[in-house]
């Protein structure tokens, strides 16, 4: 249990500390140190869970099982690597005069606060607290989006705040309905929102109420996942905020929101299984619908992007759509693929955003038309971007290929006709990414383009991990995924 | 037979009291605005003077123009007969329901608008067009409020509605609360009071009702004026008796009728005071805002209806 408390307390306390001292010169190093410490404790937590099975704590208010523990570790890991990248990157932003020390304090405090809310969202057993933490994540990041105070940044932040605020409010309404359904069958109302209690009583929950609650929760949390048509905030927030934040938003926040939907889906499925009122697969069907629409629309939008960060944020929407589709499809194979995809997408996408951050520093612009010849100016950044994009587009031997392959096989098995739009979508997205990538990496170098001080270590580590996951998934990890698959679908894959 | 006599008697009292009610509203308004008020009998004197005057008509006036005052007065009189006044079980109220009441008003308004256009003056046509614009929004709102009532009481007959509400005692019904608000707004619009129309001025830019009757004189004008006062009284009695039915006579005994008359008088005095206070507090709104005002009435009626369906049934 200590490991869990540490994982939560470290970011919380650092957030407070950095809120006070965040403008000092050592703040960025402290930020990094805190994330590394949080990562270490999350590894400890993961080892605990691996050896002893799921953990609960504080009268059942916390619960770490095989599903969320790997997400907790992943969040801590990407948090640490991004902090590693942000150290020189933000220093350069400050040196360029885009940020004042006061803003740096805000940035550091928000960064840690954001990590804290996400870890809280994942480790809590209480669906109400999960909501509070999700809203907290919005509040922690909204001022980060407007960090540069340009009209575009303020606009993006306002949109982010309003759209996500409304979305998350609908999710709260869904939570209230969930509680309403639970209060009818669970004797102690104080425990009626605990996920473990809910899933134990799931089959006696009223299907009619649960169906409506799930729709609200799906739309609400789906807004944060970035599902079309509630995705409008996502490209704006990613493109206008500081790059480290884009990395953690894409790599982590979207995952956490999807995690929330899956948790609710497990309960809804159990509640609807007996009902005749709705199809027992209603939750899954809805998720598949939203997923495939997001996947297709985002793939098409990739083609018309002019801003490199918007480009990759649409790619995030596309992949989140794919994952939502996978979890909606259900069944052990698709779920396993979805879990794997969550992991590899997080790693790859945050690596890409880190590279993109360097690329924008080299070209001094985010406009795709003006980023040219990266591979000649600074080979490390150019190669990083090229390999990252190859990985995210789903080429073998990277992990994204493996997970997409699993997903396609599962689709082929249950809905053969859906493989056609999936394959088409993948091809469209591939074309959309590469038509922009090629000139950026290989084009003619503009005059006076200089190298920048780049920190490619996190990128290398993350892309190597993705490669490793593509070639051979280590035994303990596949065991974990299998446990999580069992938790979600009720049957093992391996 | 006794019933019919009683009914006729109440109708006569109703018609005779209507100018007095208008005068009372005017008096309270004067008090509130620190002005000297005319005598309470002034409307009667005006009516008597108008009746004794010669009718002057435009040469091109058609028969429609001629018969309109009688139709308006007649329709309004019939409407007054439909509304339970001092006692509930009137035979006249039993044979007609609230939709008929709305129909009488619509008939009167239709002829009013026709007559307004008949002479062909600019003002008359303008007034008619404005009147029809307002009524197009006010009528649905009124009907919606009335439907709320009839859903609560499962009847459109006013007597039965009132008896039903009396029988169940004090029940807080959100639907009735909204229906009351809506009916108040509709009543203000329909009787041409501030803030929709101002009965006291002939300002060409804003007048609605007065614009339509500019060409009338003599006994024609007297009939129309009386009908207007009657209409105000009908709305007042309607609101007082439906939403605050306590005291209304449910039997034909003398004592019950005396109590009914007394309470009704108190209710009307209070309601007139409220109307005067409202007219003092609010300024007349621009004509273009009137649609928003009436849509608010419609929305209120709709909320009333919905809250009955959502909150009160089941």
């Amino acid at each position: 249990m200590t490991a869990l408390y540490l994982t939560l307390l470290i970011p919380m306390c650092s957030s407070i500390l950095l809120g006070i001292f965040g403008n000092r010169s050592w703040a960025a190093k402290f930020n990094l140190l805190a994330t590394v410490a949080a990562f270490a404790s999350s590894v400890w937590l993961a080892l605990n869970v691996l050896n002893h099975g799921s953990l609960g704590g504080y009268t059942g208010q916390f619960r770490v099982d095989s599903f969320n523990v790997y997400l907790i570790a992943l969040t801590a890991f990407v948090g640490a690597t991004t902090a590693f990248f942000s150290l020189p990157y933000m220093a350069q932003e400050e040196a360029n005069g885009r940020l004042s020390p006061g803003r740096m304090r805000l940035y550091h405090a928000s960064y840690q606060g954001f990590l804290f809310t996400m870890q809280l969202a994942m480790s809590t057993n209480n669906l109400g607290v999960l909501w509070v933490a999700m809203e907290g994540a919005t509040l922690a990041t909204v001022l980060l989006v407007s960090l540069y105070r340009t009209p575009e940044a303020v606009e993006a932040a306002w949109k982010y705040f309003i759209v996500c605020g409304v979305g998350i409010a609908l999710a709260l309404f869904g939570t209230v309905l969930l509680y309403f359904a639970a209060a009818q069958v669970i004797p102690d109302p104080e425990n009626a929102l605990l996920w473990t209690v809910l899933s134990a009583h799931a089959s006696s929950l009223q299907p009619a109420v649960m169906a409506i609650a799930f729709v609200f929760l799906l739309v609400g949390y789906g807004t944060k996942v970035g599902l079309v048509p509630m995705h409008t905030w996502l490209p704006d927030a990613h493109s206008e905020g500081p790059t480290p934040m884009s990395a953690v938003l894409s790599g982590l926040l979207l995952n956490v929101a999807l995690y929330a939907i899956i948790r609710v889906k497990i309960i809804t499925d159990a509640a609807l299984a007996s009902g005749t009122l709705h199809s027992p697969h209603m939750a899954g069907n809805l998720m598949m619908g939203f997923g495939i629409v997001s996947f297709t629309v985002a793939g098409l939008f990739l083609h018309r992007q002019r801003d490199i960060k918007r480009l990759f944020s649409y790619s995030s929407i596309e992949h989140m759509g794919l994952m939502t589709f996978a979890f909606g499809l259900g069944g052990p194979l698709a779920t396993f693929g979805g879990l794997l995809h969550m992991t590899v997408h997080s790693l790859t996408k945050s690596a890409i955003f880190i590279t993109v951050g360097h690329a924008t520093h080299i070209a001094k612009t985010q406009s795709i038309d003006n980023i040219r010849g990266l591979i000649k100016t600074q080979p490390a950044v150019g190669w990083g971007l090229a390999i990252g994009t190859v990985a995210i587009a789903g080429f073998p031997p990277f992990g994204v290929f493996t997970s997409e392959f699993l997903l396609l096989s599962a689709t082929m098995k249950s809905y053969p006709w859906l493989t056609v739009p999936l394959l088409t979508g993948l091809a469209v997205a591939f074309a959309g990414l590469f038509r922009h990538l090629h000139p950026m990496v290989y084009g003619d170098v503009p005059e006076g383009q200089q190298k920048v001080e780049a920190n490619m270590f996190p990128v290398v580590v993350q892309l190597l991990l993705v490669l490793w996951l593509g070639i051979a998934i280590p035994g303990f990890l596949s065991h974990w995924f299998d446990q999580a698959t069992f938790l979600i679908t009720g049957s093992h894959l391996l | 037979m006794m019933d019919w006599l009683l009914s006729l008697l109440e109708l006569v009292v109703f018609v005779l009291l209507a100018p007095l009610f208008s005068a009372w509203v005017k008096r309270v308004k004067c008090w509130l605005q620190n002005r000297r008020s005319p005598s309470l009998l002034q409307p009667y004197r005006d009516l008597r003077r108008l009746f004794s005057k010669q009718v002057i008509m435009a040469e091109i006036a058609s028969p429609v123009f001629r018969v309109t005052p009688y139709i308006i007065a007649g329709a309004t009189l019939m409407a007054a007969a439909v509304v339970p006044f001092i006692s509930v079980n009137l035979p006249t109220a039993a044979i007609a329901d609230v939709i008929v009441l709305a129909g009488f008003f619509a008939l009167a308004r239709f002829f009013q608008a026709l007559a307004g256009m008949d002479i062909g003056t600019a003002f008359g046509g303008m007034g008619s067009s404005r009147e029809m614009t307002i009524s197009a929004l006010a009528e649905p709102a009124m009907l919606m409020a009335v439907f709320t009532l009839s859903m609560v009481a499962s009847s459109t007959n006013l007597s039965i509605v009132i008896e039903h509400l009396m029988a169940q005692g004090l029940v807080l019904r959100p639907s009735l609360f909204f229906a009351l608000l809506s009916l108040l707004l509709v009543g203000i619009a329909e009787t041409g009071r501030i803030p929709v129309d101002n009965p006291a001025t002939h300002l060409e830019l804003t007048m609605i009702h007065e614009a339509m009757i500019l060409e009338y004189s003599g006994r024609h004008l007297a009939l129309i004026e009386w009908a207007v006062q009657l209409k105000l009284m009908i709305y007042a009695v309607l609101i007082a008796n439906i939403f605050f039915p306590w005291g209304i006579a449910t039997t034909d005994s003398m004592s019950a009728i005396a109590v009914g008359a007394g309470t009704l008088l108190v209710k009307l005095v209070l309601l007139g005071g409220v109307l005067a206070a409202g007219e003092t507090l609010f300024a007349k709104m621009r004509l273009f805002r009137v649609s928003t005002f009436l849509v608010l009435a419609l929305t209120l009626a709709l909320i009333g209806l919905l809250s009955h369906i959502i909150l009160e049934v089941g």
Binding site: V132, R149, A156, V166, F173, V176 | R173, L300
Partner: protein, 224 residues
């Protein structure tokens, strides 16, 4: 049936209808100070309902929620908004929707929709206040409608906060309050959100010299 309920339960239902009415009033109101006043009234009604539900159900921790709602929704947030509006000097601007009549009609349609959606829920509860689910869902969606129909930042915030009122109302009236830890968390989030909104007003005004968020339209997928 309504007439068989005790008087204070009838009062709860009446207050529910009043909350719905204030939502419509917010939709129709175009001047900002009266808008904030109506919002404060809505908060007050919600707090009063909470106290009544606490009395009705005998759950005394709901009194605490009622006080929280009173302080936060009826006093602090309106006070903050009003102060900001006066400091920003925008208290005489037009804050209305472009087509108020259409918006009101759309609002009425939304209420009917909510009733339709909530109907299957209501038959599964023995709670006396189950009917309020449709009402609170309407208040939530009317808040969303207000958000999308207004172009001024302050009006959008009022819409957002009234949406939050609907959520609170749902939690109180339909389920007799959420677990305490959740309620505290939600209240905390609302508080922070209100403060951040305040910060944003200044950011927006600094960046576009106005609080008309329709002018925030640089980021979109339109071709330039």
């Amino acid at each position: 049936m309504l007439e068989q309920l005790p008087l204070y339960q009838q009062l709860i239902l009446t207050l529910a209808a009043m909350v719905l009415f204030t939502s419509f009033a917010l939709l129709a109101q175009s001047r900002v100070i009266p808008m904030i006043r109506i919002f404060a009234w809505q908060g007050l009604i919600v707090a009063a309902t909470t106290a009544l539900v606490a009395y009705d159900s005998g759950k005394y921790d709901l009194y605490f929620s009622a006080i929280l709602a009173l302080l936060l929704k009826a006093m602090f947030v309106p006070w903050l908004l009003q102060r900001l509006v006066i400091r920003l000097g925008i208290d005489h601007d037009e804050h209305g929707a472009e087509h108020p009549v259409t918006v009101l009609m759309a609002g009425a349609a939304l209420v009917i929709f909510c009733y339709y959606v909530a109907q299957p829920i209501e038959q599964f509860s023995s709670s006396i206040t189950r009917n309020t689910i449709a009402i609170s869902m309407s208040v939530v969606l009317l808040g969303v409608l207000m958000l999308v129909s207004r172009s001024k930042a302050v009006a959008e915030v009022v819409g957002f906060m009234s949406l939050e009122n609907g959520l609170f109302f749902a939690a109180v009236a339909a389920t007799h309050g959420m677990p305490m830890v959740v309620e505290l968390g939600v209240a905390f989030d609302v508080l922070i959100a209100a403060v951040i909104f305040g910060v944003f007003f200044f950011h927006i005004r600094d960046s576009i010299q106005s609080l008309d968020v329709d002018q925030l339209n640089h980021l979109s997928e339109r071709e330039e």
